[in-house]
């Protein structure tokens, strides 16, 4: 739930104005308009490509909370649960991309695709170098369809971190985009919604009421950890020389201690057969008003693992 105020047209703008009021040393606002807001770092980093993320404005920390050193340079927010318009993304790209270009990174939903694709064309018309990476990590969507039809979920957090790491090393845009795309191919996310009153666990449910891919009638934590690992590794099929990054996203009703106990259970189940290099737990994308989690696994080769090596802290999580 969000507070349905009489200024819903300006929900994204008001969010961004609040963020810049609280942390002026961290953020500044490039646009606070109707149905669109642009948040950027207080001090843009010159001499390298910029990472621009975008999405509907009803949630957090994704995407505004990812504007930080080592993550995104700007976030473009739309109205709650609606993609921001192409011209706002274009404006951010024009502002930040003049030198070394921009990487547009977003989750695979119709509105986000359409507006980013239009923004890409507008930027290219202005001779600004653009690369696009579309996160489609949700293993429970588009089951019998090509992978690119899948939706994006919390796994994008890991792609933002990777893109940010490439940018910090002043990598050429094209090379960085290829690395982030390669990671996207090896990224999977599974949701787990829990209903204690019904003794029910649902895996793979979407956040707009889409049904899941598997339900179980138990509340056994170790067993559910094994089920999570089974579903994710079945989909990703991690190789022997790949190192895994496990991301545990705490949904809104889940308690802080619960999330660490569960993360440990999943880590133990996963590390039985695979090399888990790193685990992170937080509310990375606090999108569903329920008890449960999203689990993301990134299978990393040596180059990506090295790039993902440093920790990055934001106002609300460490990744």
């Amino acid at each position: 739930m969000i507070w349905n105020t009489d200024r819903m047209d300006y929900y994204a703008a008001d969010c961004i104005l609040g963020m810049t009021r609280v942390f002026p040393e961290r953020w500044k606002c490039l646009r606070a308009g109707k149905n669109a807001g642009i948040l950027m770092k207080a001090e843009p980093t010159p001499d390298r490509f910029a990472v621009i993320i975008s999405g509907g404005g009803g949630n957090g920390p994704f995407c505004p909370g990812y504007v930080a050193d080592g993550l995104a340079d700007a976030a473009v927010l739309g109205a709650p649960f609606a993609a921001p318009n192409a011209y706002a993304i274009y404006e951010a790209g024009k502002y930040l991309g003049k030198g070394s270009g921009v990487l547009l990174l977003y989750n695979n939903f119709s509105g986000d695709y359409l507006n980013n694709d239009m923004a890409r064309e507008l930027l290219e018309e202005d001779n600004i170098q653009v690369e696009v990476v579309v996160a489609n990590d949700d293993i429970a969507t588009a089951l019998n369809e090509p992978r690119e039809n899948r939706s994006g979920r919390t796994g994008i957090a890991l792609l933002i971190k990777l893109a940010g790491a490439c940018a910090q090393r002043k990598m050429p845009l094209r090379q960085a985009a290829d690395i982030v795309r390669r990671a996207n191919e090896r990224l999977g996310t599974l949701s787990m919604h829990m209903y204690f009153d019904r003794n029910l666990i649902e895996y793979g449910a979407g956040f707009s009421g889409e049904p899941g891919i598997r339900t179980e009638n138990h509340m056994d934590m170790k067993r559910s950890a094994r089920e999570v690992v089974e579903l994710l590794t079945e989909s990703l099929n991690p190789g022997k020389d790949e190192k895994l990054f496990l991301l545990v996203n705490r949904l809104r009703l889940t308690s802080y201690p619960d999330s660490f106990i569960m993360a440990n259970a999943v880590y133990e189940a996963l590390s039985r057969n695979y090399k888990v290099e790193r685990v992170r737990v937080a509310a990375f994308s606090n999108i569903v008003d329920t008890y449960g989690y999203e689990f993301s696994i990134l299978c990393m080769d040596d180059e990506i693992s090295e790039l993902m090596g440093n920790s990055t802290a934001t106002d609300s999580f460490m990744i």
């Binding site: 318009n85 509105g111 239009m118 889409e210």
Partner: protein
């Protein structure tokens, strides 16, 4: 009426804005059954901002009028609808470039080019249960009608009737794109809200031109 000027087209677009704003409750009701209920509000807000723009600004050409119309819709609406309905007015702009007045052939070419751009941008085609399923039959009707007449008001009325036929057909289609796809078979029996909005646009243009003709 054989030709349309920038002034006349602008008046018809303003009429269309009023009609879209008035259609909000009908669109909201439909989208609440088989969608997330925000389509009507989005269209109302987009066309309400567009009306303000059309009433308050001057345009040097038909090209500029249509370009600004599309751009305003993208900006005001956001989401998928903004781009798609914006492209309806931007996508065919080359067909009217440099023209002080346009005839029925220009208008048909304009919407044909728009449809191609909408399909390309949306990675969609006929039968996917989108506004394109109303736009394509509207264009077919315009072409049929053009065989008999050069009259713009007759051709736009044919477009509206064609769009309505397309809306009827969406009732038997399973959604493949956007959040509507979560409803799949449940959508059967109901028209696609985007297709209905497209028919409202042709209704507005058709009635708007007729009204200008009478005055």
């Amino acid at each position: 009426m054989e030709y349309l000027t920038e002034n006349q087209l602008r008046a018809a677009l303003i009429y269309t804005c009023d009609l879209m704003i008035a259609s909000e409750p009908m669109l909201t009701e439909l989208d609440s059954i088989i969608g997330d209920g925000d389509h009507g509000i989005g269209m109302r807000d987009g066309f309400s901002d567009l009306k303000d723009k059309l009433v308050s600004s001057g345009f040097n050409s038909i090209y500029e009028l249509l370009m600004e119309t599309g751009t305003q819709l993208v900006k005001s609406m956001g989401g998928a609808s903004g781009v798609i309905f914006g492209t309806l007015f931007i996508g065919g702009r080359e067909a009217v470039k440099g023209k002080d007045r346009i005839n029925a052939d220009d208008l048909i070419l304009f919407f044909e080019e728009s449809a191609i751009n909408i399909a390309r941008r949306g990675r969609t085609g006929p039968g996917d249960r989108t506004m394109l399923d109303a736009l394509l039959p509207a264009i077919d009707s315009m072409k049929e009608s053009r065989k008999l007449t050069k009259s713009i008001e007759v051709i736009l009325e044919a477009a509206y009737k064609g769009a309505l036929r397309g809306v009827e057909n969406t009732k038997n289609m399973i959604p493949r794109l956007g959040r509507a796809k979560n409803f799949r078979e449940k959508a059967i029996g109901y028209a696609d809200p985007g297709a209905v909005s497209l028919s409202v646009i042709f209704k507005g243009l058709s009635e708007g031109i007729r009204k200008i003709n009478r005055e």
